[in-house]
């Protein structure tokens, strides 16, 4: 477990900054709700019957924004993107850093197998991802509760969203690692993995403003765990959970398979 310890320590400072950022965003977002609620635009009611694309122009999803949880659904996508960026960069970075920092000739002549290196690095990355997710979950529950005086408890949907976000984080992490394992040039892994992540994000934005092309939603993990749908159903869509788990398994498999056979870039 020495590689795990080393990796976790090496990424600790970064993780602390990400966590602070996450915490601040939840705080700032819910503070905005505080101001929003007191303004109380009752006229919002007429929007409930409007089509998606028109609503999007006004920046409103089809949920009651005057409740704390309704407002949190808007905030959630920002937390989601942040966590996704973290996971993608971490996944690609943790496997390519030895080659890019030229420390590969230190680590790999040690009596460890490639499988063991990948496994311990992956474990360190998963730990980071889980910690960031816990920070998001705890701060969301606390701040939403703080602004939710008198409203119905929002803890369950928030935790469900966070479970969904964790699965999506793991998908992005495993895609980042797979890119690092498959691509010959370690410099390409970060850009390729983040290009996918952004395409997925912009695809989600596109799908939010239309009713067409909904089959494309399978391509973007941002749509697997849609905040509004989770609040309405008070449950995760098990189909998407199953897809997430299989994607994670497939990309992890690809990572191990290719990394073992890879000529290191030294």
């Amino acid at each position: 477990m020495n590689i795990f310890r080393h990796e976790f320590r090496a990424h600790r400072t970064g993780l602390i900054w990400w966590s602070v950022g996450m915490l601040f965003m939840v705080y700032a977002g819910m503070a905005k709700y505080g101001g929003f609620k007191s303004a109380g635009p009752a006229a919002l009611d007429i929007f409930k019957s409007l089509p998606k694309s028109v609503l999007a122009v006004f920046g409103i999803g089809n949920i009651d924004l005057t409740t704390a949880i309704g407002f949190f659904t808007v905030l959630f996508i920002y937390l989601f993107v942040m966590a996704a960026i973290h996971a993608t960069l971490l996944g690609a970075g943790i496997l390519t850093e030895e080659e890019l920092e030229r420390t590969a000739e230190f680590l790999y002549p040690k009596p460890v197998s490639r499988v063991c290196v990948v496994a311990e690095k992956a474990l360190a990355a998963v730990t980071s991802v889980i910690i960031l997710n816990l920070v998001a979950a705890v701060s969301s529950v606390v701040f939403v509760a703080a602004y939710n005086k008198g409203g119905p408890t929002a803890t369950k949907p928030i935790l469900l969203m966070m479970v969904g976000m964790l699965l999506a984080q793991l998908i992005f992490l495993s895609i980042g690692m797979a890119a690092a394992a498959v691509l010959n040039n370690p410099k390409a892994a970060g850009p390729v993995a983040s290009a996918y992540m952004f395409t997925a994000f912009f695809l989600k934005l596109g799908l939010d403003i239309t009713e067409k092309y909904q089959w494309l939603r399978f391509l973007t993990p941002f749509r697997y765990y849609d905040a509004v749908a989770i609040v309405k159903a008070s449950a995760l869509d098990w189909g998407y959970v199953a897809i997430s788990v299989s994607l994670i398994a497939v990309f992890t498999g690809i990572t191990f398979y290719f990394y073992r056979r890879r000529d290191l870039y030294v």
């Binding site: 028109v54 122009v57 920002y78 960069l89 983040s194 239309t210």
Partner: protein, 266 residues
């Protein structure tokens, strides 16, 4: 200087083309959703006719065809400028840090060139790439808008709306330059640029904490209210001044810092 300029252009050409194609293609895909939106807007307009004039005035909406096109295009520009900001930031964050990370700084700086001319050559290449991106983008958007909508935006409104992308890119170009010369070591351009751009994107939603007015001065994503641009055929000058001051200050600081900087070699 000219050799540095040409070398940089050649080095970045492939990435630049990928960016241009993705930006134009992505915007094209989003705008393909417009006809459906226009239809909805039209229906909505009819519905709104039945509401009392007081309410219509309170909501401050008037869905004539021009406004429908402008507001939809504004929404799409909001998405696309986020991606465009990343392009600019990637370019300029790499500007000097790349040489040091890839250990080519010694090669370049031992040539008979002043640091000023090196920086100018590199900066000119980055600016050329950004300008070409915007020219291609504007031309293809003009054609695209003409083909999907009978109504069209007036020439000045169109130029000002798409021009906001150029201005936001220039902001991030300046910011990236400043970071490139002043950070002691940039491990990964991508991480720095993604985190910075998203940081500014997210600042945009912190109005409750920072104050709605202050936020508009803090992030370039809020400098250009495209609906205002549509209504007044002009930018809001105070934000233009903020941008100009920042860009000039960052540029000057960039040159001074780079001139006095110790270059990291191995």
């Amino acid at each position: 200087m000219k050799t540095v300029y040409l070398h940089e252009l050649r080095q970045n050409a492939r990435t630049a083309i990928i960016w241009i194609v993705s930006l134009v293609g992505g915007t094209g895909l989003y705008m393909s959703l417009y006809p459906a939106f226009a239809q909805h807007a039209n229906e909505l307009n009819k519905v709104l006719q039945n509401y009392p004039p007081v309410l219509r005035k309170a909501l401050n909406i008037n869905f004539d065809a021009h406004f429908a096109l402008a507001s939809f295009f504004a929404l799409v520009m909001g998405f696309i400028t986020l991606a465009a900001a990343i392009q600019a930031m990637n370019l300029s964050t790499a500007i000097t840090s790349k040489e040091e990370r890839e250990k080519t700084a010694e090669f370049l700086l031992s040539k008979p060139l002043t640091r000023q001319s090196i920086l100018t050559g590199k900066l000119a290449a980055a600016v050329t790439i950004i300008l070409s991106t915007n020219v291609v983008f504007m031309i293809s958007m003009r054609l695209l808008l003409m083909s999907i909508s009978q109504t069209s935006l007036t020439e000045p409104v169109f130029l000002l709306m798409t021009g906001s992308m150029l201005l936001i890119q220039i902001f991030f170009l300046a910011l990236g330059l400043l970071m490139s010369v002043s950070l002691p070591k940039v491990r990964s351009v991508l991480s720095v640029s993604l985190v910075t751009v998203f940081g500014f994107y997210i600042i945009g939603m912190l109005d409750a904490v920072l104050g709605a007015k202050a936020v508009r001065y803090l992030t370039p994503f809020k400098f250009f209210d495209l609906i205002y641009v549509y209504k007044h055929s002009s930018y809001e000058w105070q934000y233009l001044i903020v941008e100009a001051v920042f860009v000039i200050a960052a540029g000057i600081a960039g040159y001074i810092i780079y001139q006095g900087r110790d270059i990291n070699t191995i």
